[in-house]
Symmetry: C2
Subunit: 264 residues, 2 copies
């Protein structure tokens, strides 16, 4: 176990940089998970982190929460970093810090040659809260593969991780994907949500396996992808109202799909 008492410690400096700068995380290929829930979910789905960073004050004399203690007990000593004093406060963004931060390798799965299982494509969805909530919806609906275009919020950013609540770890997430170039690899029909020239979701014959594409908060799905869709659906709604938030639209579509094929 490494124990750090000084802000000048090289490992501490690199940890601080990782938590503060997205560029540093990208260059190192690392992500930072803050709080008990995300760390537990990572252990459950993915295994050990590169570093498990603890607030030493909460571990000594077993004064920490039972959850933090349990996390500590699962991590081999050589991956534990204990921070003395208030050093942990330099690392954590979350307001109510819970005294534990994991540093993990950012998954970068290779693009599959063929895609034959239901998946979700996000075209320039920019709000981190929306992207996190959509990942959570995918995991709950049983969609396991997600392809994010350039200009979609970076999935492994702290805000998206927080909003995803651990959904990231059960999914295969491809980032910065050239979506039009992905289309020839799809062995299943593309279904686009659009407001015009579309069939009502509840009348649509949804394929059992399909690739859903959802678009930017303001502009929707780009025309090129709409044109390539085998099916364009719209969610029937009050005529005078604004359309749904994209996170809500994803939930309605994926759960309508689930209702038909796995209603419980």
């Amino acid at each position: 176990m490494k124990r750090i008492a000084s802000r000048d410690n090289p490992l501490f400096k690199s940890l601080r940089k990782l938590t503060q700068a997205s560029q540093a995380r990208r260059e190192a290929g690392l992500s930072v998970l803050e709080g008990v829930h995300l760390c537990q979910a990572y252990l459950q789905w993915r295994g050990l982190p590169r570093h498990a960073v603890f607030d030493a004050r909460r571990l000594e004399g077993d004064r920490g929460s039972a959850e933090v203690m349990a996390l500590r007990d699962e991590i081999p000593a050589d991956r534990q970093v204990w921070l003395d004093g208030n050093l942990i406060d330099d690392l954590e963004h979350v307001q109510a810090g819970q005294g534990v931060v994991f540093v993990v390798e950012t998954p970068a799965p290779p693009l599959p040659e063929r895609v034959a299982e239901s998946c979700v494509l996000l075209d320039r969805v920019q709000d981190p809260g929306n992207v996190g909530s959509i990942l959570r919806t995918c995991a709950a609906a049983g969609v396991r593969h997600v392809f994010l275009s350039d200009e979609t919020a970076f999935a492994w950013s702290p805000k998206v991780l927080r909003s995803g609540q651990g959904a990231h770890f059960s999914l295969t997430i491809h980032e910065r994907v050239d979506l039009p170039a992905l289309l020839p690899r799809l062995d299943l029909p593309l279904v686009a949500t659009t407001l015009e020239d579309a069939v009502g979701l509840y009348r649509a014959e949804l394929p059992r396996q399909c690739a859903w594409v959802f678009g930017n908060e303001g502009q929707g799905v780009r025309a090129e992808l709409q044109a390539a869709a085998a099916l364009r659906v719209r969610i029937p709604q009050e005529p005078a109202a604004e359309s749904l938030n994209v996170g809500a639209a994803v939930a309605v579509c994926l759960f309508e799909h689930r209702r038909r094929f796995a209603p419980d």
Copy 2:
């Protein structure tokens, strides 16, 4: 039309205070709408604002966007306030300021004696983005009455307004409602979303008119309201996954309800 060139102008000072402090807005019973879209939606649904505040630089010589010009043309001169120089920058939170801000009276509708039309109750939903997205979902699904408990994010805050995208103005929103005390006024069944002791949403016999209650992001619906529900439903999902974000859960439930009774 009032034209203001100085930060010492009393009207400007009161406007600045309104945009900066939620307490000032509450005490004055006023809300601040930022950006073209919210202002347009207010005009469409509710009528004239108390003040329509413009960035004078964008109006002179008709150099503003067509949308801002159109807004100006709809507002009587005595409700227009033009701000010189960069005064508008003191007022706006939105990063890409659009040069228009409305000050409007915060609706405070009296609690109805009886509730007989489908409605949504939110029990301590704390995230402003969630509350805004839920209001938008209600408007799109055709649910027109919303009751927010104490500890639910304040609907007329800038963040909730932004996330609601104008849905506020087509809804009747009651805030700081004592939800248990509301129950005797309901002439329709209460339907609670819970994770335990609940029937699957797709098997449930949903009443045509009902009062939905959704709960806090972490703790769900409080036990007292769960116990009072005529029907408890859960959204069938992957067993190992986290439950849905509350905004996604509202969308799934309200649109499953709409699918049955107004499928389009």
